[in-house]
Symmetry: C2
Subunit: 194 residues, 2 copies
Amino acid sequence: MNAESLLHYISQHIHLTGEEIDILLSLTKYRKYLKGQFVVQQGDVCQYESFVLSGCLKTFYIDKEGQEHVVMFSVEDWWASDLGSFLTHTPADYNVQCLENTELFQFPYDKMELLYAKIPKLERFFRIILQKAFVASQKRIVQNFSLTAKERYLQFKQQYPQIEQRVPQYLIASYLGITKEFLSKIRNQLILEQ
Amino acid sequence: MNAESLLHYISQHIHLTGEEIDILLSLTKYRKYLKGQFVVQQGDVCQYESFVLSGCLKTFYIDKEGQEHVVMFSVEDWWASDLGSFLTHTPADYNVQCLENTELFQFPYDKMELLYAKIPKLERFFRIILQKAFVASQKRIVQNFSLTAKERYLQFKQQYPQIEQRVPQYLIASYLGITKEFLSKIRNQLILEQ
DNA sequence: GATGGATGTTAATCTAGTTTAACCTTCTTT
DNA sequence: AAAGAAGGTTAAACTAGATTAACATCCATC
């Protein structure tokens, strides 16, 4: 196990003492998942906020027509969870599934209040990362409206070059809100263009 | 001036002592705007997080074609800001404009760290409202992909009946990511249906 | 009460992106 | 090396929603 990357990530926002680190590690847990395994299933209550130590996951939603919509990808140093379900302890709207063998560091629902009580600085930490996540989410909403599918794809490639390499095309299409056939057409166009 | 509604809103999430309330009020400010006035302008740095005491605002983005895209509406007991600009102190991507005469309670950028230092509980407060905002934002992304324009309109009416009454139709169309002409068509369809 | 600005509607034409369906290419697994 | 799965491509027919343009309505204010 190796919590180094989590501690390094946290240290970019707040400073924890050795004692606080011990408390943090005692109240959270490390877990490995295999490619294909589900960390959260639509309908179940999401029990963890999971920090990605290694690997890659997709968060997706199955709509009433049975269509899959990718909400986000999570790679190293990012989070995976159905936050809505986790916070309100109600059934999850989303699935979270591993696209590769994955190592997670999990913050359990029933330990959160204790964690915040023992390490109040964590309030600040989560406030800061939520601010960033919210800003990014708002930006994505506008882009989905103001950009064409081709522009969104180019933007995605530029913003997440690592993810583009690791994830199958049809999932990227889903993330962009288009069909895999249309993404294939866009890619063909881009090749012809240069 | 009447900070009651802000204090009531805050009290739903954390408890402030009388002394803390005094500090809060001394470091923030009340301001009135007229219909049409801009609270934030695209390109300027956003100086405040503003809590809405009364009135109504739109946050919108002008794209490179000059088209307006409404990102959110803010009414009583909600927030208005370009959070990305506010947090990173960089030029705003969005405009925030009053749709009615509006009373705001403003948290200044250069007082935030002092506020957090003097009232650490505010970290928790903002963490909690950001969690909610992020969850809502993620949900909107999925809905924009998985629902038709008509379904999104019905959903909007149901979720924000107050806003639908107060705001011109063409802005609702923009919020839904469709043209005013198409929204008009949808409304006509809905009338014919029943 | 007329003028103008802001809002809303209707209808014809157009297009970005979907659907369907067939086929191709790679990995895995046996 | 054969046989599937899983992923990716192509192309024709289709549709949700955009665009354009003309007209209608509701006001505020001179």
